[in-house]
Symmetry: C3
Subunit: 140 residues, 3 copies
């Protein structure tokens, strides 16, 4: 069994933002030499996501407005008890649960085995600081 572990760092300038990380993951899969296996890609921070969807800016705007409706930003410790700790990011912990922590992608014939529109995104819900994503490839 082969394995390769890499860490990607992102520092997005907005509170909420999505970045397409597919080319970076593809490069790691190539470098691993794994032909048949699995690739785990996960946010290492708990106010961020890794998810798979469409690379379409209108959809990303829709996601932002929808997540803001499901779990609105509110720094008040009356609204969110988590913010009694001095944090203001309780909403980000909720948005991340909707969008997910991780994806697991099949590697087939040395490539990410994707449908026609699948792209991997880093989802940031409390940005303006450096955060890491783990990429782990296992297989043969």
């Amino acid at each position: 069994m082969k394995s390769l572990t890499e860490y990607l760092t992102f520092n997005l300038p907005a509170r909420m933002a999505f970045e397409n990380i597919t080319p970076k993951v593809e490069e790691i899969v190539k470098r691993s030499g794994v032909k048949e296996g699995l690739c785990l890609i996960n946010a290492m921070h708990i106010t961020a996501s890794v998810f798979i969807n469409d690379d379409e800016p209108g959809l990303h705007d829709d996601y932002k407005r929808w997540l803001e409706k499901l779990a609105p930003f509110d720094e008040s410790p009356q609204t969110y008890r988590h913010n009694r700790t001095g944090e203001d990011n309780a909403d980000a912990h909720m948005k991340r649960q909707v969008m997910g922590r991780e994806v697991v992608v099949a590697i087939t014939n040395g490539n990410l085995d994707f449908g026609p529109w699948e792209q991997i995104f880093y989802g940031e819900f409390d940005g303006r600081r450096a955060k890491r994503v783990l990429v782990k490839v296992i297989g043969e």
Copy 2:
């Protein structure tokens, strides 16, 4: 390490629908010969889900009404900017995030290692056309 990759195709006649795919996945696991390992099952389309829950028609009705409330269908490009592209399925991209893209199931003694009520479903949120599900088995 052994591996097996299969693709299942679904063409559900409704916009939103759930289909139990457990027997199809079980058959692939048997055929793989893997006794100890992992099985990844993921939607290859970004307006569809694979998830695990109960095979109970009342619950599936509840899911449909609940998802419609969380992310209502609305073809208007004023409501969803994604629909400015000519699509009408922005809501389906949101429903899919709530229900998830994929599941990873343990294989133990050659079987899907399931609790008493776990069943695997294909979840369709923009149906009436063919879409694929990937099943990847790895292990020994």
Copy 3:
């Protein structure tokens, strides 16, 4: 390829509750002898979750109130058709979809490869009875 499968049992006294299971998972990973691989941790019941987030009691209160708003408990079979079966836990099946069934964690150098605040939780949405969590380690 090495593998190890273990089952943890939880019987939480509240309807909705979160328990940090990280030390139990770490112990299983150590015992597996796997240095490089993947660890799957999943709820085996369909009204429970396994998820990764912060071990902060204020945040857990926020999650409970937020989930109750997204999918309110209501035993009425008029509100939820699933409750026509004699169950009263339709809401728990929805809360579990938001929080997720499973997590997959990288094992690197024999340890769970975690960011600074990542902790694994068992999430219960219909408690007061015994339920199981599966932990499967594969790798070398």
